[in-house]
């Protein structure tokens, strides 16, 4: 299966970005093939609003069935759950650490947003 991680870097050793909507990119890890691809998210860094919604659409379109990030706001959560993506939060330092935590089953799945929206 594919798992998406929010990150500021380019490889699994890169930091896990605690932000979702304003993350620079997503690393989508394929656990069957042990390979990964990168989705660029930089156009959402300066978006006035709707960054979480747009990012969630990108993640859904990548085929990921799970997302790991620091937090998830209400609008992003609504899109992700409509797309069938399970959202996990982690305070792991790197993408690789977060992936290990996922495999160990120690990550907490969200049942709703864990932070408030920024705009409305």
């Amino acid at each position: 299966m594919k798992i998406a991680f929010s990150t500021s870097g380019l490889t699994p050793d890169a930091p896990l970005d605690p932000r979702f909507g304003r993350a620079a990119r997503f690393l989508v890890y394929d656990t069957e093939r042990e390979t990964y691809t990168l989705i660029d998210n930089t156009q959402n860094l300066s978006a006035a609003q709707g960054a979480g919604i747009q990012s969630a659409q990108h993640v859904a379109a990548s085929g990921a069935q799970a997302l790991v990030s620091g937090h998830c706001g209400p609008k992003a959560f609504r899109v992700l759950s409509a797309a069938g993506v399970t959202v996990y939060t982690s305070s792991a330092a790197t993408v690789a650490d977060a992936l290990k935590a996922y495999r160990d089953g120690t990550l907490k799945a969200l049942t709703g947003a864990d932070v408030e929206g920024h705009w409305a």
Binding site: A47, Q49, A51, I53, Q57, V79, A82, W119
Partner: protein, 280 residues
């Protein structure tokens, strides 16, 4: 003549100036309370309301998923990211929608229609022939301009003389929506560093909007001279100075018109109106 009363900093005395200007001019005036997030002008006119509060709505999209083929055109078009397309499901975020109608137009299947979403009310209250038109935004609604436009439309529907608009504080969208179409803008300020800082932002705004304007300094003998200096350097006319009279604040806190509680201030507001007439 359409005169708006604005400021940069909140709490400088916009409502004080707007309601007392209106009161001294009496039945020839329509007073529009455009501070729809916290309207308070009506508190100073203990008159009866004419008619019920009218509900105001704005249009948001509704997608017929039976017609939708998931092409994503609507989501790509939306400047405000109010639509998310997942397969054939379209999620609408009404709180982000600005009601432009664009999604409806670009949908190749005609699967989108507009439905009204309530944002607040507009009501007209008359006291001694003076009309106060009040807009009141529902709690939790983020966007004021659509209701402000409704207030202005409702006011223009009735035949009357001059119009005074009590604007919201600041320099953002609700204020520009209020000021648009004004013949003259009064910027109310106070002679303090915060007052001056925010006044310069408000001046930048009215110059950008190309509206004639003048300044009223409230609590004029408190603080320092920086505001007067700034107006002098910028060739901005100071039309009136209201003294730092504690009795004014006391009357305001009781919901009393200054020109009724302290009739000696009538002349100040009469002269202010005459000067505005002369300037615009």
């Amino acid at each position: 003549m359409i005169v708006s009363v604005a400021s940069g900093k909140g709490g400088t005395g916009k409502t004080t100036v707007a309601v007392n200007l209106a009161s001294t001019q009496g039945s020839r005036i329509r007073l529009l309370d455009c501070d729809v997030e916290e309207p308070n002008a009506r508190l100073f006119f203990k008159g009866a309301a004419c008619g019920h509060p009218e509900t105001v709505t704005r249009p948001i999209p509704e997608v017929d998923e039976g017609q939708c083929d998931g092409c994503g055109e609507c989501s790509r078009f939306c400047e405000f990211k109010a639509l998310a397309v997942l397969g054939r499901r379209v999620l609408v975020f009404p709180e982000l929608c600005h009601g432009c109608g664009g999604c409806m137009r670009v949908c190749p299947k005609g699967a989108i229609r507009e439905i009204p979403k309530r944002i607040g009310t507009v009501s007209i209250h008359t006291a001694d022939g003076l009309s106060v038109v009040e807009g009141r935004l529902d709690v939790g609604v983020a966007m004021a301009p659509p209701l402000i436009h409704a207030v202005k439309r409702k006011a223009l529907a009735s035949e009357k003389g001059d119009t005074i608009l009590d604007a919201p504080p600041g320099t953002a969208c609700p204020v520009t929506a209020t000021l648009h179409g004004s013949d003259y803008v009064l910027l109310v300020t106070e002679p303090t560093p915060f007052g001056l800082h925010d006044l310069t932002l408000a001046v930048e705004m009215v110059r950008e909007l190309k509206l004639p304007f003048g300044v009223v300094i409230n609590r004029a003998d408190s603080g320092d001279d920086r505001v007067r200096e700034y107006c002098r350097k910028e060739w901005i006319t100071v039309l009136a100075e209201i003294p730092d009279d504690r009795r004014i604040a006391e009357a305001y806190s009781r919901g009393e018109l200054l020109v009724e509680a302290l009739p000696e201030y009538r002349t100040l507001f009469k002269h202010l109106w005459d000067k505005v007439r002369g300037q615009s």
